[in-house]
């Protein structure tokens, strides 16, 4: 099939449909995934196509739902749970971290838990403090989980397809601001292998490492920077854990400067892991410290102006990059 223009939402939907068609053991469960079609429309039409046994509307009981998925995965099924908002993860962390993630290990390899836990996070809808978080680092801190965060339409499709073949639990984090984003889907050509970091734009002066929605903010910043003669390499890591750090290291070894961009709050966020790894491995090549441009260390406020201010913007990324590369201090650095 040739490449087509479609949306992130449609790409996810197509991946689910194909996986469910191919593999009878795949089923979808979660709040409002059936009749409602999913809070963000990803599972629209699936109920009609696959019936009530494979597209299961659940009660509002996140811990129980994830727990049920764990049991289903242990008994030959391949459940896909939609958690609606990553903000609800707190209700499920026991089932995710103590059950799904550790079962294979605790039981000495006897029991696998091949399930996919889909959820979406991030800001942009004035959804306030309990519906706007970016909590990926809770998951990356749990051995036994694979954590994936697609940015592009093509990745949304391909990474979900692969996640649905993975023998271990996959935390699949979408971004609420990306569902309507258009892009090219080529079902034959993934952006990169599973687990591989991908260079989205080549550059020579600094490396910007990021993922999910921030890939586009970083690319926009890179565009601005290029107009000012600064050439930024933008890397989309896609799979946070396990992380393909070799690609980052090669890039930073070349550019000598690195900036990590995340929407999640800075303290103990995944930006810290990326920063630490780059500093560890590229020490001798770094001209400047690895910078973190991350969300403010605050809950997300509802006011649109405050919400926008709480996470990195292309302008902030570009200004900071210019500072890093050219030592041009931005207006706000008095």
């Amino acid at each position: 099939m040739a490449a087509v223009e479609t949306t992130y939402r449609e790409a996810l939907r197509q991946a689910l449909i194909e996986a469910m068609t191919e593999d009878e053991t795949v089923f979808v469960m979660g709040e409002e995934v059936g009749r409602y079609g999913g809070a963000y429309g990803v599972t629209k039409g699936l109920l009609e196509m696959f019936g009530e046994n494979r597209v299961i509307d659940t009660p509002i009981a996140e811990a129980g739902i994830v727990g049920a998925a764990v049991g289903a995965a242990m008994t030959g099924s391949r459940p896909v749970v939609e958690l609606m908002y990553i903000d609800f993860a707190g209700l499920t962390m026991d089932q995710v971290a103590n059950q799904a993630a550790k079962s294979r290990y605790m039981f000495g390899g006897q029991i696998g838990v091949p399930m996919v836990l889909r959820m979406q996070g991030g800001t942009g809808r004035s959804a306030a403090a309990q519906h706007s978080q970016s909590l990926e680092s809770w998951f990356t801190h749990v051995p036994g989980l694979r954590v994936v965060m697609p940015a592009t339409v093509n990745d949304a499709y391909h990474l979900l397809r692969i996640a649905l073949k993975c023998p271990d639990p996959v935390i699949f984090i979408e971004h609420k601001g990306l569902y309507v984003r258009k892009g090219t889907l080529d079902t034959e050509r993934p952006d990169g292998a599973w687990g591989q970091s991908v260079i989205r734009r080549e550059g020579a002066d600094l490396t910007i490492v990021t993922y999910s929605r921030m890939v586009f903010e970083a690319l926009a910043a890179a565009e601005t920077l290029s107009a000012q003669g600064v050439s930024a390499e933008v890397i989309d890591i896609r799979c946070l854990n396990p992380l393909d750090d070799e690609t980052l290291i090669r890039s930073v070894t070349k550019t000598g400067r690195a900036m990590v961009v995340t929407e999640s709050v800075m303290t103990s966020g995944f930006a810290a892991e990326l920063s630490a790894r780059i500093s560890e491995r590229c020490f001798e090549h770094l001209e400047e410290p690895v910078l973190r441009v991350a969300g403010e260390d605050i809950p997300i406020p509802v006011s649109p102006a405050l919400e926008r201010g709480a996470v990195p913007s292309p302008q902030l990324i570009a200004e900071t990059a210019l500072w890093l590369v050219r030592r041009i201090a931005p207006s706000w650095a008095a």
Partner: protein, 340 residues
């Protein structure tokens, strides 16, 4: 007829009318592009919660779910500050940080609205412990929906309340739907109060189209709770419109909606008041007009109010006087700035 009699019904009517008008204006705020986001959950069809709120005393506290506007109005919150908050403005109840789903007013015992389904439920157990330990005569009421009744934390909270005989009431507003899922597709036994009874609470279900019945039941349930028998009451009603502003409820039958909207506590109260000759048409219209005017003013107020200055985002993470979070730009300046 009921305890407070017809005068009380008129009071209920006024409260319910104000709730409905408020919700209709929230809708308008959205249409005018002035609300902070679209996660606006209107409580039209649930106005008889006014009966529960009327049974509460000063000093009593409560938590609400995401669909709490009506409860705040009924407990005496200021519609202007509510509307401002829904618009994300500086003079809103939460200084523009919370929005529709997080209104709170400590002066009214409003411990806050919650956007996590079931999230506010256990808080009343703790409030009950505070009252018991300090020998205060208050009750704490958790308001939540039928959907929340499938969350495990409700059972943990009910058990603790019953075990410790706390002055606590769980008030389940059964509007028949959790988003697109009807109660019978969410609960194996939709008679939710039976579960509460099995957990050791005082449990009952009341017809939400009759505010007097709701009020009577609430008086009983709250009274018992104040004396150490925690209660659970279900208000049976119907969600007249979509789940949130953008939902058009395509998952329900037109006919069901038509039937459901007949369970209208406001219309019923009006009918009763006229039948009992407690009020005439003119008097009720005056109440209606007053409510409309009040809520229109709230919208105008909110639209005119200022957005919070961007710097206020760093306030209220911790208490005043505690070290605030370090802004990113400050952090970057320490790394790249002159003094580095």
């Amino acid at each position: 007829m009921t305890a407070g009699g017809n005068k009380l019904l008129l009071e209920h009517y006024r409260t319910m009318r104000r709730i409905r008008s408020f919700e209709e204006r929230v809708n308008e705020l959205f249409v005018r592009g002035q609300s902070a986001g679209s996660m606006l959950h209107m409580s039209i069809g649930e106005e008889s919660i006014a009966g529960v709120c009327r049974a509460m005393e000063p000093g009593d506290s409560f938590t609400t779910h995401h669909r709490g506007h009506g409860i705040f109005i009924a407990r005496g919150a200021d519609p202007k500050r509510m509307m401002s908050e829904i618009a994300g403005k500086s003079d809103g109840y939460c200084s523009g940080k919370g929005g529709s789903m997080h209104i709170a007013d400590m002066t009214l015992g409003a411990l806050g609205a919650n956007a996590i389904v079931g999230g506010g439920i256990p808080h009343v157990v703790g409030a009950g412990l505070s009252y018991r330990n300090r020998r205060l005569p208050h009750v704490s009421v958790a308001f939540f929906g039928d959907g929340a009744a499938q969350q495990g934390i409700l059972y943990e909270a009910m058990n603790m309340a019953a075990l410790w005989k706390l002055p606590v009431v769980f008030c389940c507003i059964n509007n028949q739907y959790g988003m697109g899922t009807r109660i019978d597709r969410a609960a194996a036994n939709p008679n939710l109060h039976e579960r509460a009874i099995a957990c050791g609470l005082n449990g009952l279900t009341v017809d939400g189209s009759d505010v007097e019945e709701v009020h009577d039941a609430a008086e009983r349930i709250l009274g018992a709770a104040r004396n150490g028998m925690p209660g659970f009451m279900v208000i049976n009603c119907y969600r007249f419109y979509g789940h949130a502003r953008l939902d058009k409820s395509p998952y329900r039958e037109e006919s069901e909606e038509v039937e459901g909207r007949k369970r209208d506590a406001l219309a019923n109260a009006r009918k009763k008041l006229l039948a009992r000759a407690t009020a005439d048409d003119a008097m009720l219209m005056q109440i209606d007009d007053d409510a409309e005017a009040e809520m229109n003013a709230a919208v105008d107020h909110a639209v005119a109010a200022l957005s919070p200055p961007v710097d206020t985002m760093f306030r209220d993470v911790f208490a005043e006087g505690e070290p605030p979070p370090r802004p990113l730009r400050h952090h970057l300046s320490m790394i790249l700035g002159e003094g580095r």
